[in-house]
Symmetry: D2
Subunit: 393 residues, 4 copies
């Protein structure tokens, strides 16, 4: 095997998403034949000691403590932005302007204004052959890809209804401490931007239709929490001091889609017992689909054309060679996990970069999600009134 | 066994609901010790031949073709109203005024105005010891009763979120014919009043909280259908002539509850593959519950107080003697069906009548549901704007 | 409706099964058009007071304290034997000889010898137009009927493997008291004869193939229990005195079927958490089926002919009008319960009696089950050696 | 981070298992803090071209075409045997004698005699500080580990019953071609040794009890198949020529465990619709557990000590930091896949090697499994007679 040419990557940030992305860069060429071979060239963070430890642990060759230095290095082709949302715009735009391809974690930005600037920057860069992608990773869970394919093939007919939920419970306990994710200045919003972004993007992706209007309602159930004294991952411990929660704990909304479908959406961190319950159910004129990320190797499918006597939701184990991405991994029936979608994202990104084609989801897709989320928030703040969302472009 | 005194019943109407109610009147005294013994005294309908056949099949002693005659008979103590919703007010009010107890099928009425008159009539009658109940039967599915008990005992803590769906597919096929259920003048509304009424009542019952505001969106996906040439149950066949569907095919709404919880609701007849998918999921500060009528002997329960290592949604088979109504039936583990809730309804109604106490749900409860449904419809017609729902009283 | 001619029934015994059978006799003509109308004519038991109460509660016209008197009454056409298994042979044979049709609860008898006599008596009676049926009721759960139909239509191809389990937990608690069901002289055997009989009959029915050989293993985990001081249904309380358990708590066996399939079987009352877990899974050359009585309105079906990309076990809700027995009950999607299978049994029995045809399962079918159970017991007692089971006839 | 000392690995074979093991060696140090850092030093295979490609793809530094050369290299500390079962004994024993630690894929060998030699060699090597482990990887699925923990803590009380199934369907199609896995001289046995080995080991591991006797039945449903003309993974295509299948397609057996429990076991490749259905269900005197590899992040648990009103099987999502191995990966709720158990196996092996302690499962454990499988086969060949299995030692 002659290795394909290298694609040198600089990754900015190395927390949860940094670990997930590193795993993907490392493993993609071990299972897929890629036209470019990713090289984990530079990892970037502010704390030199923690950075060195991360570089060793996650297997990056070089370190930079200044992201501006990282993104302008000659030995970097692509910048992978894994920092909190309030820094995405500045870093991603600078990287694009420096001629580097960009993979930016979701949500694209914390505000529509920033997202618009990023989408414009991506469009400008593309004219120069520089490409940008936003990391809505769940698009590349094989069962989600299969859902998209079946709908695109017309197996559901006209889409009439969607119901989408992202149910978690990680701060349902009122004593869980404040983190940056509960601080509006850092996180932009709460459940809405963090996990509501996922279901927004997924429904638009799977149905192939834009959300054209929404009415929303948001709530913060626990208004003050202990200030964190220590943090690890998404968990931590808090002290006696209380601080305000400035984001939504849960957001719910109704929506219309471009093709006439109607939908209910819910993003919450307060659904005790649901750990990663990203679920959608889609009804068309010819059938239905259902998915739950807590059982991610499964897609449920109802074919309305079946005989009534034997019709029923099929539990498709999306672990066959015929299923998207699966044949590169293990024999039939051997399930994948959360992290594999990141590897699939690398595969598609590298393939697009090599071909000079726009990877999906684009920054414009990320902006579209941001507009929906902003409309939900604005609707909720305005007493739950309907807001149309103008078509992109 | 000395039989308890008789409670003579007149049933008006004998279609789907008439059969279900007859089954309940017949079987309740065979499994439960009742303070009064129901007697299937009079069945009433307009077509004499069909009526005679129904009387024989459903085991009623006498027939009447005029409901006014039926409700004034001396040998009738209670009138069971199983006719379409547009006739409920007139019959039920007349029966109450004639001094008969009344069981009225849901929805209480097709309009809030009628429901208000009925609730007023019920209140007036009660002063004379005449009692009225509305037939939200699903309250008496054992798993639903258990859900109510657990919440009332505080096992869920403060209720924060509800999500309720009633998913059916019986007219998802665009060639399914027009029936009176798709005619606004007869049915009042479509999915909203028919099955949306159930989830509205159930959530208010199970949480013990009123819905205080809503924003709604409704849709009619199939705007014209073949006029029915023949009908059997809910199905039928249509001819070449098309007629307009004047009710909603699907209704979705967001809501707030009196205790501060927020909720998403959906009623649809277009969810291919879901036959009787009445589901709710309720999250409180101390735990969660989930129910699905398609698996009606099960309640799922998550106790947030459990150790994280072994915590998980429990699949409670609500078929133990310790569960509501169950010990009167079969040994542990032997599941009940759809119709048993009607029998339980008779049990509680007869017991309340014998004790001279208000049976639940009352006409006031039925009115409360009607106000929510009307607000959803009004919100939807007004471009999906938020509407507060005044407290009853 | 002109009522069809009466079929006068005498029921011997009125415990759990008596209640279930009464419910079936009462309701069958209310939902199905029967060629004969069952009349609950005589109920028979030894304790006059309890008998009178049962007659009133279960709605029987007359009582007899001597079963011999009951079965010879001129106003009795059919004898329904609901007593413990050790009395079946004597009563059923006498009734047949008295020219009465017989429905006999399962197991047909406690010994093969008795079962052989019964089968011979049934054959002799049939020559005189007198018919006999054994009550393997679960055959008439609609999902089980559908399973039988699909296999008979060849949808599974050649049957290769079966796995059948009947899992309960009602005496898993070592302090549960002794009852007649744990006494070999009364019950014949334990889990084996009580619930092992069901899976044996069901597999033979659904596959259409006889079990031709077995090797078994049985165990009594709790060898002494408190003698019951009070009993209600299957539960009770015990005192300080201990008595021996003389039947099996669990029985497991391997088997071959006439068509070449192999199977695993398990009957246990010690599977904590499984209340009525009668499950089977059947694999053929063209597909598979799975059933679980704890979710009795569902049949799972895998069609091996489907495209690999969308193949999956279908969860068929067996609640459509196209499904066996369902259209007589409620509209699509409204699930049935445990007791409905008894009503279906009455329907088929009455229809067969009216037509003068052999109802199924016959006493010969009951004998076939008994031979399998006896072979399992004998194999287990002989150190788990293989035993061939001669073909019936 | 100062890297821990290296542990140089030579891997013999590079098919399915080679890929899985490479993935584990590569990723273990990226998520876990290991006392030794695995180095993918040498990969060994017979075909130089394919070997070079595999080395590049799977990231190994050096290649050897002669396994004898590979296992004696000075730069190798541990030999990872991923070849078919008929070569395990020779390679593993030679490696141990060369002073290399050994990880050997399951089954340990194709015959008991070979397994005994291997266990003896492992014991001899251990005296010299050289350690051996057999790769029953599923032990290290987090849900399986949790099951083991709960039983070891006494949460299930005395184990009474087990039921274990490994259901696949990859050769249920009679036209699937012959592969080495269907050739007794290569594979030793069919479903029995391949997947029956897994359930045998898992039940012994999870319960902590040896299987002490069995009676078995095996079957080959498709006795001739097309000779493969091309193979990829477990699939392939066959030509017109037919060859004999010389192994079992399905094996079923009954068993006793050392602690008195009884069990049913089934291994099959003919269960249409089950792709990787390794399931077990274990009942003790105090509760029950259930697992299914097709939903591998879940363990179901029934606690018999719970109040009957709210008792039920809990669906534990084994994705919390409190669960075995999970905290090293992703935040709570993010599921793992098939391959992660291999990484956990590396973690425990490296930790044991560093500490000079016996890793589990040992070759003696592998031999114990082999004795059970051999007894099942011998029992089946002898007409399904009971065989006791002598205790190890």
């Amino acid at each position: 095997m002659t290795a394909s040419p290298p694609l040198n990557v600089a990754m900015i940030g190395y927390a949860f998403m940094g670990a997930a992305h590193s795993q993907a860069w490392r493993n993609a060429p071990r299972f897929f034949d890629l036209p470019l071979t990713p090289v984990q060239q530079v990892i970037c963070g502010r704390n030199p000691e923690a950075l060195a430890a991360a570089a060793a642990k996650l297997d990056w060759r070089h370190t930079e403590t200044d992201w501006r230095a990282a993104i302008t290095r000659d030995d970097v082709d692509l910048v992978d932005v894994c920092t909190p949302g309030d820094t995405h715009a500045e870093i991603a735009i600078a990287a694009l302007e420096a001629g580097k391809h960009v993979l930016c974690e979701k949500p694209l930005a914390n505000t529509v204004a920033e997202a618009e600037q990023m989408a414009a920057a991506a469009e400008a860069a593309r004219a120069n052959g520089v490409l940008a992608m936003v990391g809505f990773t769940y698009r590349r869970v094989p069962a989600v890809q299969l859902a998209r394919q079946l709908i695109a093939e017309g197996r559901l007919g006209t889409i009439r209804q969607v119901r989408a939920q992202y149910l978690q419970d990680w701060i349902a306990d009122a004593s869980a401490p404040l983190s940056w994710r509960l601080d509006k200045t850092k996180a932009g919003s709460g459940a809405l931007g963090d996990i509501g972004a996922h279901i927004t993007d997924l429904i638009q992706f799977v149905t192939g239709q834009a959300i054209t209007g929404v009415v929303g309602l948001t709530e913060t159930f626990v208004k003050e929490r202990p200030v964190a004294t220590e943090f690890a991952g998404l968990a931590g411990t808090g002290g006696a001091e209380l601080g305000p929660v400035t984001v939504d704990d849960a957001s719910i909304w109704l929506a219309r889609l471009a093709g006439g479908a109607i939908g209910t959406f819910e993003a919450t961190r307060f659904a005790w017992g649901r750990k990663n319950g990203l679920r959608f159910e889609i009804n068309g004129s010819a059938g239905s689909l259902a998915f739950d990320l807590e059982d991610l190797n499964v897609l449920e499918y109802f074919d309305a054309g079946e005989d009534a006597r034997t019709a029923g939701y099929r539990r498709i184990l999306v672990t066959e060679p015929e299923h998207p991405f699966v044949s590169a991994w293990w024999p039939a029936g051997h399930g994948l996990g959360y992290e594999h979608a990141f590897t699939h994202q690398v595969v598609d990104l590298v393939t697009a970069v090599s071909a000079g084609e726009q990877p999906e989801p684009s920054f414009a897709d990320g902006l579209a999600v941001q507009r929906v989320l902003a409309a939900v928030e604005q609707s909720a703040q305005g007493g739950s009134t309907w807001l149309d969302i103008p078509a992109a472009g």
